[in-house]
């Protein structure tokens, strides 16, 4: 499985071919607390890098989720409609948000790797 890349807004990206799967990090789900609802983008929507394209609602608050890279939404995770708690229990697996096609591999490569993201999170504490 391809390695994960990370943004400063606490999204993760996994690029396979030219399709990127996007979700929020374990740090993000932990900060949000129990997730009760997600608003996901419609397939077919073109999103720009850093565009707000999903919303995650926890018991505590609502937060925007941004596109880590530009692309076209090809799939949203329907399982989250029934069970948004997947974001808490498996944030980088079953709790994925949406998939983008037509993604520039260099843009993904330019994001933080796991070690850089871990250092970034430590710098926030």
């Amino acid at each position: 499985m391809a390695e994960l890349r990370f943004t400063k807004d606490h999204e993760w990206v996994r690029l396979e071919g030219d399709v990127a799967t996007v979700g929020i990090t374990d740090h993000a789900q932990n900060a949000l607390g129990d997730v009760v609802f997600v608003d996901l983008p419609e397939p077919g929507r073109e999103v720009a890098e850093a565009e707000a394209c999903a919303v995650v609602e926890s018991v505590k608050a609502a937060s925007d989720v941004y596109a880590p890279v530009a692309g076209r939404v090809v799939e949203a995770n329907a399982a989250l409609g029934e069970n948004p708690a997947l974001i808490n229990t498996d944030p980088t697996g079953e709790g994925w948000f949406f998939r983008l096609a037509g993604v520039d591999a260099a843009a993904v490569e330019a994001l933080m790797d796991e070690a850089a993201y871990a250092a970034f999170v430590d710098s926030l504490a």
Partner: protein, 345 residues
Amino acid sequence: MVPFAGYAMPVQYPAGILTEHLHTRDAAGLFDVSHMGQAELVGDGAAAALEKLTPADVQGLKPGRQRYGVLMTESGGILDDFMVANRGDRLFLVLNASRKHLDIPAIEAVLPAGVTLRPLPDRALLALQGPGAVPALATLAPGIAAMKFMDFAEHALAGIPCLVSRSGYTGEDGVEISVPAEQAEALARALLALPGVKPAGLGARDSLRLEAGLCLYGNDLDETTSPVEANLVWTMGKRRRMAWDFRGAERCRAELDGGPARLRVGIQPEGRQPARGHTLVQQDGAVIGEITSGGFGPSVNAPIAMGYVARGAAADGTALDLMVRGKALPARTCPLPFTPHRYAR
């Protein structure tokens, strides 16, 4: 931990808001609400003096009993909401942390000679809430089991002299305990050692009170809202509604006679998406109100809200649109509370 009104407050403990909320409804949650203002009013005529500021019946409050009320502004808005207990030789008040700096001078301004308001900044306040709260507490002080909802009494807990009221802010049975600040930690540790008691934070306190339909000052009540609009007419004593001798009475009387322009109602969004405070409420494309508190109700297992709508839209079951991120989320007005109260009446 987050800052609130100059205090560092725990939003949640490691269990998280959802678990703390459900545990409080199921067993017992311990809340540190020491930010709340405490004060006592001493001297002959204290109750009559306080009645100048509140439509609550304070003079009719019997010793050992507590009552909820609002303090009024000159123009008939709500300055604060508060609890008042009759301790026999004095009145004991609990005020909001964010409003006590306004309440105290407002009360002092109406006091006659011989009546004194004494702020009690050296007292902490703990709330033990849930169906397991009183059974657990009764192992330390059996007399608490005999108290009814809104009774107020002195009890020694783990050797610490406390003021206990059978009340709270969750809709559940339980108590609030005023304790000297230097003994608060010892008391909290003693309470957390009781079977079934777990700590709960401000986040769970907020979701519990919203399910219970209880107002939060600054969200659901402010200086622009009247007690009639806020559906708090029940806090106005019958005698007070005959005499109309309290600050801001003119507006309340006019609204009771002619109907207020808007009313606080429960709002149930359809589906799973929560609508938060400040969400605009529309009907047929026109703005008719605003959500003042909204979120997810863990016990209801659905989004819940309350807010103000035009009187014509306040009837239970009225269809509304909540404008969430530019989209209309369908909702209906509904009766409060969302979760039935379980007080020890």
